[in-house]
């Protein structure tokens, strides 16, 4: 079910109404019912995958909790009798058992994700290798179901399992409550990837009906629809045309397409997250922020701390740190120090861990080489800028630029261009083509198409561009205002007529200028496919 469909709006109305009219004790059950209904209506056949992940992770975590409790009870019972070594041995024994359950949960669910999402990628690569070695036989791709939001709910479930394994918090005792954590419908399409300890604090209520909270949540939903319908979906025809006909649209067109896509992706993804967080807020539930004005970042590192935050933190907490301190990495570090010197040896594990994380980030986005190259490209930029840090410090100690507006603006624009050019791998979905299109920007010499009206032949007329410019202006204005505090809070301080005019005005803008309905292709959120 598309967030932008009438059906979803009807569904949301019913869900909100039911949520607040049932007794507070039943709110969780109602929400779970609506969450499963949402999943069933969106991707009915894949519901079984969601159920399997929910059940296996719940029971594995339950087992981990029991083992934790048994270990503690055993140590407590024999506190006086056990020597230090014996205590260690008991802990080791329990750790082994816990590890088995953790591995069971991880392998099973990552296995499901891998089979559903990566089988055909693996087959294509095996076929490529066979061709490379001159063999003519090849494996046919398999038609597999890719359950909606599988990457999001699998990662969310695994973070819960690992946290329980680490003893960060005890497991949830109620299966239905845990199921709600995994399937909470607003975040099923494109996240954010919530953490159990954060989301569960407000997910299970009880929540009294609060008109101010409801209206605040719906205001954020409206802002999300503005980004999605007025900006992202209006840009869609031009982006699609440029991407799908690269032989015709290259050079300056590829540059325009790159910027259009950067804007479309931002408006699409952050719009979807605004809708998700807004719906949750309307129910009194706090969902973690996923973006903090990423296009205002002055470096790629800062950008990744502000873009898709929950994913970045997931990879940091559950891949980067464990990998960095894993046995093989410690050995590598030792080897590096011995053979490559202290400076490089110390950094070696960070570089390798970083490469692993960004490889995983890339492949998480999609089962194809373009995403892997995109991930590795980000990694290289991050590592290079990290290694150049001493040079930057030296440079700024000599040239006082850091506080200058022009320098800040330059850094922001540089980050936008860097990130947008890497996103071209996401656009074209073909590594050699992406490189060709990227280099065509410097070789085609057709920059005049940016000013001679050629851009008006991309499925957008001057009025569309006017709407986009207006939308962009509003987007930037809101982002600038957000730096002080939430724009909704600032609007709340205004007199009622002004508040009414602003929100109703925004509603009318979405209603009239939104790209939806007959004549527009209903588009799913871009991150839905990940």
């Amino acid at each position: 079910m598309l967030f932008t469909s009438y059906e979803f709006l009807g569904f949301l109305f019913l869900a909100l109404t039911a949520y607040y009219i049932v007794p507070k004790k039943a709110q969780s059950a109602v929400l779970l019912g609506f969450s499963y209904l949402f999943y069933f209506l969106s991707d009915g056949r894949a519901l079984v995958f969601l159920l399997v992940t929910t059940a296996t992770v719940f029971f594995a975590a339950k087992k981990l909790g029991e083992l934790h409790a048994s270990q503690e009870a055993c140590l407590k019972e024999h506190k006086a009798e056990f020597s230090r070594e014996e205590k260690k041995a008991v802990k080791e024994e329990f750790l082994k058992k816990r590890r088995k359950w953790l591995l069971f949960g991880l392998l099973l669910n990552l296995g499901i994700l891998a089979v559903c999402k990566y089988t055909n990628f693996a087959i294509a690569n095996v076929n490529g290798l066979l061709h490379f070695f001159g063999r003519t036989e090849e494996f046919s791709p398999i038609s597999l179901l890719l359950p909606m939001g599988i990457s999001f709910y699998t990662f969310q479930s695994l973070s819960y399992l690992i946290d329980v394994y680490r003893g960060k918090y005890p497991p949830q005792r109620s299966l239905s409550r845990y199921a709600l954590f995994v399937s909470f419908f607003p975040q099923m399409i494109q996240g954010p990837i919530s953490r159990y300890d954060e989301l569960s604090a407000t997910l299970y209520g009880p929540h009294s009906f609060d008109p101010a909270q409801l209206s605040s949540g719906l205001q954020r939903v409206l802002w999300g629809y503005f980004k999605k319908l007025v900006i992202a979906d209006r840009l869609l025809p031009a982006v699609n045309l440029i991407i799908r006909t690269p032989e015709e649209y290259h050079g300056a067109y590829a540059f325009a397409g790159m910027l259009f896509y950067a804007l479309e992706l931002y408006a699409d993804f952050t719009g979807g997250i605004d809708i998700t967080i807004g719906i949750a807020e309307a129910m009194g539930i706090r969902v973690r922020e996923n973006f903090i004005r990423p296009y205002f970042s002055k470096s790629v590192k800062e950008y990744w701390n502000r873009w898709h935050i929950t994913m970045g933190q997931w990879f940091t907490d559950y891949i980067f740190y464990p990998v960095s301190v894993s046995g093989p990495m410690l050995k590598l570090s030792k080897w590096g120090r011995a053979h490559l010197g202290n400076v490089i040896g110390k950094r070696l594990t960070v570089w390798v861990s970083c490469l692993i994380v960004w490889f995983a980030t890339g492949i998480w986005h999609g089962a194809s080489w373009n995403f892997i190259v995109w991930g590795l490209g980000n990694c290289i930029i991050l590592l290079v800028s990290q290694e150049l840090e001493p040079f930057y410090r030296w440079f700024h100690s000599r040239v006082n630029l850091e506080d200058r507006f022009g320098w800040k603006l330059f850094r922001i624009l540089r980050t936008i261009l860097l990130m947008s050019s890497l996103r071209m791998f996401d656009c074209y979905r073909d590594v050699p083509l992406t490189f060709r299109m990227f280099f065509s920007m410097f070789t085609a010499g057709n920059w005049k198409v940016l000013v001679d009206g050629s851009l008006l032949n991309l499925g957008l007329d001057p009025k569309d561009f006017l709407v986009l410019l207006g939308g962009l202006f509003l987007l930037i204005t809101v982002s600038l205002l957000q730096r002080k505090r939430s724009v909704r809070e600032q609007i709340r301080t205004l007199a009622y007529p002004a508040r009414f005019a602003l929100w109703f005005g925004l509603f009318l803008v979405v209603l009239v200028f939104g790209a939806y309905g007959v004549g527009f292709d209903a588009s799913q959120f871009i991150y839905n496919q990940f």
Binding site: Y6, F500, F504, L508, L511, V512, G517
Partner: protein, 385 residues
């Protein structure tokens, strides 16, 4: 002691009085707050509804310029509904038959409920709706729409459906007509469909925001210009000449509707040269008419009797007739209607020119009709694309 106790009690009274007063004031304040909140909500709601209604009215197509077909269905509701004959169908009716001529020559009070590419189920529902307003003696249906078995174009759907008044009939009609990708909600709130018309707004959208001009004369769309029919294209061979089950089902429903309401159904094939009317289609209609004992007139076979000349009587090379052609057809048809047809139990259509009230209504219409003829003669409308 007494004095002090009385002082205490009076103090208590004073205190309780103060408290009561305070409570009362608080209550008044709360009531005032509630009232102002309610007023705020009421004003906001009214403003929201008003603005949305205005915006919807502005953004909906007016059909007052070159394409007027979308304004036809709604015009019927402004009529005094005592017609003796109602035509229901596509452009082959509203461009080829002239109710003004039928009135002037035969005193027949008729109306055409036509719209562009009106599909057979749309005709059925328009007939059903018409019968909720009046009880004509005869209903005329043009059989060309039997060729469509499934919903066709969204834009034509809107031209027929947006003009209809809300009723169960309209809901059924929408459900039967929606093409893939259309949403029922877009009919309930047309602003959802036409929101992107902000790009196309023109003077007409403001001129006809609150009122519309009459675009037909009792449903007849008049054209006086001439474009002779030359090089009329032959019909392309079809894979299957059989009309579809859905179309036949609605044909059956039309027959039943008329029988149940004691209305004489008259099938016609208007004399348009194209879309091509295949002999195989003709056969099926003739068989159906015979099997159901229905009167059927194919005007394509009556060019001699009607005196139709495709060099002078069409404004778009044979697709539709101009005023001269429509009057020739209406003259012939009026003659048949005035006589009646005992074979099908059709009584002669009454000449109502003697009814003063009806005559005066027609007088008004004739004045406008003649003014339009003069206007078109002075400013020929040209040829529709």
């Amino acid at each position: 002691m007494q004095a002090s106790s009385s002082t205490i009690s009076s103090e208590k009274e004073a205190l309780s009085f103060e408290a009561l007063k305070e409570q009362e004031e608080k209550g008044r304040g709360n009531r005032k707050n509630r009232l102002s909140a309610a007023a705020c909500i009421a004003v906001s709601a009214a403003l929201i509804l008003g603005v949305l209604a205005l915006l919807q009215a502005l953004l909906m197509p007016k059909y007052m310029g070159k394409i007027v077909e979308g304004a036809m269905v709604a015009e019927y509701y402004g009529e005094v509904k005592d017609h003796d004959m109602v035509f229901v169908g596509d452009c082959e009716l509203y461009e080829n038959f002239d109710p003004v001529y039928l009135w002037k020559q035969y005193g027949i009070n008729s109306y055409i409920r036509g719209s562009a590419q009106q599909l057979i189920w749309q005709s059925y529902y328009l007939m059903e709706e018409t019968l909720q307003y009046e009880h004509p003696k005869v209903m005329v249906f043009n059989v060309l729409s039997l060729q469509y078995n499934e919903p066709q174009k969204e834009s034509y759907n809107r031209m027929t459906l947006d003009g209809m008044r809300w009723s169960k009939t309209k809901i059924d009609d929408i459900n039967a007509s929606m093409t893939k990708g259309e949403q029922f909600l877009d009919y309930v709130f047309p602003i959802l469909r036409f929101h992107s018309r902000w790009k196309e707004l023109e003077q007409d959208d403001f001129t006809y925001l609150f009122h519309k001009r009459q675009v037909t004369f009792n449903g007849y769309y008049m054209r006086t210009d001439v474009k002779p029919a030359e090089n009329v294209p032959e019909g392309k061979p079809l894979g299957n000449y059989n009309f579809g089950d859905n179309a036949w089902d609605y044909m059956d429903r039309i027959v039943k509707l008329c029988r149940d309401n004691d209305v004489q159904l008259l099938l016609v094939k208007a004399p348009s040269l194209y879309p091509f009317w295949y002999p195989q289609w003709e056969e099926q209609v003739e068989e159906y008419a015979a099997a159901n004992h229905l009167e059927y007139i194919n005007f394509l076979e009556l060019t001699e009797e009607t005196g139709l000349d495709f060099q002078t009587d069409t404004y778009d090379a044979g697709l539709h007739l101009n005023l001269s052609g429509a009057d020739k057809i209406s003259d012939y048809f009026g003659g048949l209607l005035a006589k009646g047809n005992p074979e099908y139990g059709r009584e002669a259509m009454p000449d109502r020119r003697g009814e003063p009230e009806l005559s005066s209504r027609w007088e008004e219409k004739i004045k406008a009709y003649e003014a339009e003829i003069r206007r078109q003669k002075e400013n020929p409308p040209g040829i529709d694309p």
